[in-house]
Structures are given as structure tokens and as C-alpha cells.
């Protein structure tokens, strides 16, 4: 076979898997789209996030924790291999609340989850004054927050670039500007592209984000992924205003403050709208009033790749064994797990993580 693995999709999921497989001595060819593709990997919020994941599925909470726990090592290895620093900060993160009711309700949910995880879920409920000690610029409307100590944030674009560099350094072949049109399995796999490129591989991974909806069913997957738009704002570079990230705002390593995000079901539309921007700005200013004077310099919209329950999908094809679907909407958080732990699952090794709860059976109508 030309290559051990053909990986369809060169975003953070595809590249993380490529990296992990290359590290184990496998040969890898990544097929990536063009400059105009949707690319959730370029438009995400950059959180390495544990809290609020898997509220209804402790296994997902645990998977997120596992990834977060090895993220720093993963980033350090990428950094020393490529000479490209991957900024990461894991000093905890907030779920900010503007009402006592929602704060209490969330805390109760976390307490339940914590019990299911055998107590390994280190969070703290902070009232306004306690929060103010941690975040001097927090606004009066914020009644409190849940601080989860396993949360953090990274620079997702630096991650992407370091992965791209290290995959190449380890001999991975990355073909860009490719649209995969078909996957067949005469003996090994044959992956065909619109421009006539043909790649033969022992195994195939479909990690093409929203692209899986089209090609997945032809490979024996349900691939029930849909787009959900998130509009994000970023301000000019500012002096330090925000110490820990939340879903509302985080201060990135470059100095700008990133504000997110909407949750809109608008199909394949990644444009930004003035009402979207205004709503996000209003919430950010309510949380951190000092931001009223900050200049917005950029905005973008990106499409989350969502399964019906929001959990990842990890599935080997029943009709084409050796073909795997790997998709999630937390590609940054799970990058370390995808890079360091998933390859065991793909290779079918003894130490493979138990990922059964993430297979497509859960979508079957019973």
C-alpha cells in the first residue's frame, strides 16, 4: 500500500491523528481542502475546556479531562520538535453567571457529575466578591462564577501550525487543495479526489468536519453532523484585563480580547451579522465594563461540527472495516487525546481507550 493511513481532512483533528500515527512509525497521507473551506480549526475559540462537558455522559467528561491532563506535554513536545512555541495556559476557567438561579442550578449539576467521576472534578463556586479578587475588572452584574481548575486556553492557530510542521518533519505527506470525491475498497482502500489524485491506503480516517456529512454515508457511516455558527469578536491588543478565560471572553497571548460566541442554526453560512456582534459585545461589556472603550478590530464566523448530542463520534465502518470516522466539536481540547491516545484505538492495540459510548449506535432509532 502506498500509505498506511489516508486521512481525509487536515484540520486539527486530522493533523493530531496524523501526528500520533507518525510517532508510532506509521506512514500517513493527509488530504486537505482549499483556502476557502469552512475550517472549524481556524475559527474556534481556543479553549482547552473540561467543565460543562459530558453533563449527561460522564465518559465524555472523563475523556476531556484525560486530554487536558496531557495537553501540556503534547504542546511541549510539539514545541521542542519544531522550535515553534504553542502557547498554553491551564490555570482554570470560569462559567460566568448573571443570576443566582442559573449559578446554583449549574453548581448542582456539577456536583452530580463529580460524584459520577469519583470525586475527580475540582471546581469552586465563587460569589461576586470572591470572583472580584481573582478578576479585578469583573462587572457588578456578574453575580458569580464556577471556577474549574482543569480548564485552560491555548493558541489554536499556533497549535495548527506546529502540527503541520511536525507532521511534515516526521515524513507525513500533506496534500492541500484536494476535494475527496470517493472512497472504495477493492482490496486496500482507494481514495479519489476531484483533480484525479488517487491515494491507496491500508486504512482511512474521515476527519473532515462538516465534509463528513457528504462522504460519510458512502463509507458506511451515519455521520449525522450539522453546522452551528459561532460568531466571534476580537479586540485590539490591550493591557492585561482578564486573568482566566470563560466562554464569554478570554485574553489571548497576543493581547487582544476574544469574545464569543453565538449559537446559530443557519446552515452553511459563516458570515457575521451586526445583531450577532452587538449581542456579544453587550454581554462582554456587562461582564467586563472596562471593555466598553476597547476597539473591535476583527470578527469572524465559524461553523461548529455538531453531532445530535454534541459528543464526539468515533466509529469504525461496519461496511468498510479499516475506515474510521473521527469527528467532534472540541477539536482543540481533544487534540492531545487524539494525538496521544486515539492511535491505540485506530491500531486496535491492547491499551486502546474505551470509546464505545462515542460510536454511532447511539443514534440508532430503537
Amino acid at each position: 500500500m502506498e500509505t498506511d493511513y489516508a486521512i481525509i481532512g487536515g484540520g486539527v483533528v486530522g493533523l493530531s491523528l496524523a501526528w500520533g500515527l507518525l510517532r508510532r512509525g506509521r506512514t500517513v497521507t493527509v488530504l486537505d481542502g482549499d483556502d476557502g473551506s469552512f475550517r472549524a480549526s481556524r475559527g474556534n475559540f481556543g479553549l482547552v475546556w473540561v467543565q460543562s462537558k459530558g453533563m449527561n455522559q460522564p465518559r465524555y467528561a472523563r475523556w476531556s479531562q484525560q486530554s487536558a491532563a496531557i495537553w501540556a506535554e503534547f504542546a511541549a513536545e510539539l514545541g521542542s520538535n519544531t522550535g515553534q512555541n504553542v502557547p498554553l495556559e491551564q490555570r482554570g476557567g470560569y462559567d460566568l453567571h448573571f443570576s443566582e438561579e442559573t449559578l446554583e442550578a449549574k453548581a448542582a449539576q456539577y456536583e452530580t457529575l463529580k460524584a459520577k467521576l469519583g470525586g475527580d472534578y475540582p471546581y469552586e463556586v465563587l460569589g461576586h466578591n470572591a470572583l472580584r479578587k481573582e478578576e479585578p475588572h469583573i462587572g457588578p452584574e456578574v453575580v458569580g462564577a464556577i471556577l474549574h481548575y482543569q480548564d485552560g486556553h491555548a493558541n489554536p492557530l499556533r497549535l495548527l501550525m506546529a502540527l503541520a510542521a511536525d507532521v511534515r518533519r516526521m515524513g507525513g505527506r500533506v496534500l492541500t487543495g484536494k476535494t475527496v470525491t470517493g472512497v472504495t475498497k477493492p482490496d486496500g482502500f482507494r481514495v479519489a479526489c476531484a483533480d484525479g489524485t488517487m491515494v491507496g491506503a491500508g486504512k482511512v480516517i474521515l476527519s473532515a468536519g462538516l465534509g463528513a456529512a457528504e462522504i460519510g454515508p458512502r463509507m458506511g457511516f451515519r455521520a449525522p453532523v450539522r453546522a452551528q455558527r459561532g460568531q466571534v469578536l476580537i479586540t485590539e491588543k490591550l493591557p492585561k484585563l482578564i486573568n482566566r478565560p470563560s466562554l464569554i471572553a478570554r485574553q489571548v497571548d497576543e493581547g487582544g480580547i476574544q469574545i464569543g460566541a453565538t449559537n446559530e442554526e443557519v446552515g452553511l453560512d459563516d458570515r457575521v451579522t451586526q445583531p450577532g456582534l452587538s449581542g456579544l459585545a453587550a454581554r462582554a461589556v456587562a461582564a467586563y465594563p472596562a471593555l466598553a472603550k476597547a476597539q473591535l478590530v476583527r470578527s469572524w464566523g465559524a461553523l461548529r461540527v455538531l453531532s445530535p448530542d454534541g459528543l464526539p463520534i468515533y466509529q469504525e465502518s461496519a461496511t468498510m472495516p479499516g475506515a474510521f470516522l473521527v469527528t467532534c466539536h472540541s477539536g482543540i481540547t481533544l487534540a492531545a487525546a487524539h494525538a496521544r491516545l486515539m492511535p491505540d484505538w485506530l491500531e486496535g492495540s491492547d491499551v486502546a481507550p474505551d470509546l464505545e459510548v462515542f460510536n454511532e449506535d447511539r443514534f440508532a432509532v430503537s
Binding site: 492557530l157 497576543e254 456582534l277 449581542g279 453587550a282 466598553a292 470578527s299
Partner: protein, 464 residues
């Protein structure tokens, strides 16, 4: 929300001419301009400055006053100091005046945002004291400020115009370092026919060169290896010309190698652009009235393609006529009749273009800078970094932006977009069209979160 037939963005010659034509035909018009006084860049501050400096700036400049008078005489809704930061379909235009955001809507939009200086990345070009030649003109026009010890670097008629203005004001340039060579003029001769049809321009050009020679301003032709030297500000320009290496001390450097359409607003609307080889830039694809491929959005003036100030007026008029026809204010035949003289005038203005474009081409070293030269000023990304991203599979500027932040800064790619596209195209062996351009999204200009948040409140209040 105020609803108009036509919203014009930009009060330069195209915008002002369109506003007058549209208003005369009974359309409701608002013209938004980020400058505090109408005139655009070419007629910048003409109402104040024509009197003060008319003799230095010339008759062409003073012509702008007839256009600004046209705005006032018709009581057109002119919003000065209005910085447009978003245009959405419908059309809804979001803008800010004095730190307060507002919106208005219109069935038609005319983008008349003019041109930008073609980026000219050279070693040292980010030093304080280095400015565009256009900036030098603006300093003079608006503020009567002149550089005492300046060197002009680059090519193009604007460089000569500025030199003349500086000479007449008593502060001649220390030197002119020109990048076009004899070969360029020879190649331009192919277009001599057009140039001769536009003979007033040629004559003007020849007179300017004569005036520069009489003032004994040193001129160096075919300059290469140009770099600006200095620690914390510009101190000298080093270059080679006619086989000799030279270094000219100075306090200010004015750079210019042509202007290119300002496509930010058009790009944010998703208007299709195509690479124009003759003018070495992207230009929007428009029909003969200036209608783009987004229905209801027209583009006129240098933003449609570089043709100069007079051509901008004619194009503005044509767009307004078509919009008036679409809205039923004039008939089809009437529209064609009124358009005919404008088209003829427009063609006449375009006559010398091909010659000028060929005679004063962009400076090759600045189109393909050395690895260590900064190409993205805002984020300080070098040409070498962009080439490296190409080596890592970046086919287009948006991937390069994701990798290296080029285009993510405050100027949103206005000064690096063309360079990044050119570098990637060259490195990947593809055309500029295949390579593409930065995706442009609002805000087109910065707007504070407080202003944005206030709009959210207004919307909520309105809903209640």
C-alpha cells in the same frame, strides 16, 4: 431606521458626482464620508485649502470645489465623520460618528471609497519618517505641512506632482529615486497612440519634468537595491543607480509606486474580484454602469479600477443614472441619452492609462520583497515567513493568515493583502486569481464594544 433610495460611501469625486446626479433625478440620497470635509483624498480639504494653497496645488485640485459646492447646493444628506464599519444585505449600513454607532438602510449602495497606495515593502519602510507620497500630499493639502529634507522613492506621475508642489512651496525634495528604467518607457511606446489621444496629460507631464529639472532636483533613474536606513527613524536611503551605490541622507521618505483600488467594503459584501494584470491589482467585476455581481451594489471611481479623478466623476454619474432608471425615475432611453456624453468623457479620460501603467510599472523589488522585509506592518510578518507558509501547504492568504497572523492586524490587510497574494502565488506557481485574497468581514473600521453594545440595547428597547 432611515431608509434611502441610495447610500453613497465616500465623498470623493465619484461619490459627489453620483450624489448630485441622483439628487437631481429625485432620489433620496445619503452620502457618508469618514473625513470631516468632502473631497475624498484627491480633493482633500479643498474647501479650506484651495484658497490658501491653490497656487501650489494647481488648477486640477481647485476643480474639486465645484463638486463640494454641488453637495451643498442640493441639500444632500451628507454625513461627515461617518466611519462605515459594516454593510449588510438589505442594505443596512452601520456607521459611527463621534463614538456613536448608528444605522441607515437603502435599496442601493454606491461604494466610492477610492484607492489606496500600492503597498511598497522595502527594508526599513516601517521606520518613523517613512510615509506614502499620498500622505505627503495630504500633509500639504490639508495642513500646509511640508517636509524640509525629503527623498521621493518609487515611480509614477504622482511622484512628479508632489515634487512640483514641494518645489513651489519652497521645500524641494533632496532627491528623487525613481524605479522605472528606460526599458519601461520603451515598452510603454506600444501604447503611445492612447497617450497621444490624452495629450493634455502628456503635456502636463513634460512640463512637470521640466520644472523639476529647472529646480535642480537630483533624479536617479532605474534605482535598485533600495533600502531605508536608520535606527529609530529614517535617516537615509541607500540604493544603486547606473551601476553606482549611493546613500542620500534625509529626514523623511515618501514612497509611491502607484495606487490600487480600495476593495475592503466590496470584499466584505462578497463581490467578485478579478486580477488586472495591467494595473497589477484586484479589481471588482462590474458591468458598464458599475453594477457589481451583488444586486443593488455599484462601485464607481478608483475603487472600480484606477482611472483618475475626472473619470471618477463620470463613473459616479453613470451609476447614479442607472440606479435612477432602476427605481423608475427616468426611462431607459432617457438614461442612455444622458449616459452617452459621460461614456465619451470616460473613454477620453482612460486614453493615456495604458501608456502610464506601462511607463511607470510597480517596483519589482517591492512586489517580491527579500525574506527579511516586513510585509505585514501591523503584525510585523516578513516575506520570508509567507514563503515558509507556502512551503507548509498554504495555498491562499487565509491559511497564511491563520499560520502567521498576516492580515489580522488593525489595517485588515489593506497594506499587505496584495503582497501576501503575490508571494503565495509565486511560491505555489499559481495565478493571483487562483490564490485569492483575504476574507474581509466587519468591522471595516474599528468600533468600540460600547458602541456595539448600545446598538443591542436599542434593538431590545425597540422590541419591547
Amino acid at each position: 431606521m432611515i431608509r434611502r433610495d441610495l447610500v453613497i460611501i465616500g465623498a470623493g469625486p465619484a461619490g459627489m458626482a453620483a450624489a448630485a446626479t441622483a439628487a437631481d433625478l429625485g432620489l433620496s440620497v445619503s452620502i457618508l464620508d469618514e473625513q470631516l470635509r468632502a473631497g475624498g483624498q484627491i480633493y482633500r480639504d479643498v474647501d479650506r485649502a484651495a484658497e490658501l494653497r491653490g497656487d501650489i496645488l494647481g488648477k486640477d485640485y481647485a476643480h474639486g470645489a465645484t463638486l463640494t459646492a454641488g453637495l451643498r447646493s442640493r441639500a444632500i444628506d451628507h454625513l461627515p465623520g461617518a466611519v462605515v464599519w459594516a454593510i449588510e444585505e438589505g442594505f443596512r449600513v452601520s456607521y459611527s460618528i463621534d463614538g456613536e454607532a448608528a444605522q441607515l438602510s437603502a435599496s442601493h449602495v454606491l461604494l466610492a471609497t477610492g484607492a489606496l497606495e500600492r503597498p511598497m515593502p522595502l527594508p526599513g519602510w516601517t521606520l518613523p519618517g517613512v510615509m506614502t507620497a499620498g500622505a505627503g500630499q495630504i500633509l500639504l493639502k490639508q495642513s500646509g505641512v511640508l517636509a524640509r529634507n525629503a527623498v521621493l522613492v518609487g515611480s509614477g506621475p504622482l511622484l512628479y506632482l508632489i515634487a512640483i508642489q514641494m518645489i513651489r512651496a519652497g521645500t524641494p525634495p533632496a532627491a528623487m529615486i525613481e524605479t522605472q528604467g528606460r526599458g519601461d518607457i520603451m515598452r510603454a511606446m506600444r501604447h503611445l497612440g492612447g497617450a497621444l489621444r490624452g495629450w493634455p496629460y502628456l503635456l502636463k507631464g513634460m512640463r512637470m519634468l521640466g520644472e523639476i529639472a529647472r529646480a535642480r532636483v537630483p533624479r536617479f533613474i532605474g534605482a535598485q537595491d533600495i533600502r531605508i536606513e536608520g535606527d529609530s527613524c529614517a535617516e537615509a536611503v541607500a540604493f544603486t543607480s547606473a551601476g553606482r551605490t549611493r546613500r542620500i541622507a534625509c529626514d523623511t521618505v515618501f514612497l509611491h509606486h502607484g495606487v490600487v483600488p480600495n476593495t475592503q467594503a466590496a470584499r466584505s459584501l462578497g463581490i467578485t474580484h478579478a486580477w488586472d494584470d495591467a494595473q497589477n491589482c484586484f479589481a471588482p467585476m462590474l458591468d458598464e454602469w458599475g453594477q457589481s455581481d451583488v444586486e443593488g451594489v455599484f462601485i464607481a471611481g478608483d475603487g472600480a479600477g484606477i482611472r483618475g479623478a475626472r473619470a471618477a466623476e463620470h463613473a459616479g454619474g453613470l451609476a447614479a443614472l442607472k440606479i435612477a432608471e432602476t427605481l423608475g425615475h427616468i426611462s431607459g432611453p432617457d438614461c442612455m441619452e444622458r449616459a452617452a456624453p459621460l461614456r465619451a468623457a470616460l473613454m477620453h479620460e482612460c486614453a493615456p492609462r495604458a501608456f502610464l501603467d506601462a511607463a511607470y510599472p510597480p517596483f519589482g523589488e517591492a512586489l517580491a520583497p527579500a525574506d527579511s522585509t516586513i510585509v505585514c506592518r501591523c503584525e510585523e510578518v516578513t516575506a520570508g515567513a509567507i514563503r515558509r507558509y507556502a512551503g507548509m501547504g498554504c495555498l491562499g492568504p487565509n491559511q497564511a493568515k491563520a499560520f502567521g497572523r498576516a492580515g489580522m492586524g488593525a489595517c485588515q490587510g489593506r497594506f499587505c493583502g496584495l503582497t501576501v497574494t503575490a508571494l503565495l502565488a509565486e511560491a505555489n506557481g499559481r495565478t493571483a486569481d487562483e490564490t485569492g485574497h483575504f476574507r474581509i468581514r466587519p468591522p471595516l473600521k474599528p468600533v468600540t464594544l460600547g458602541e456595539l453594545a448600545a446598538m443591542d440595547e436599542q434593538a431590545q428597547d425597540a422590541a419591547e
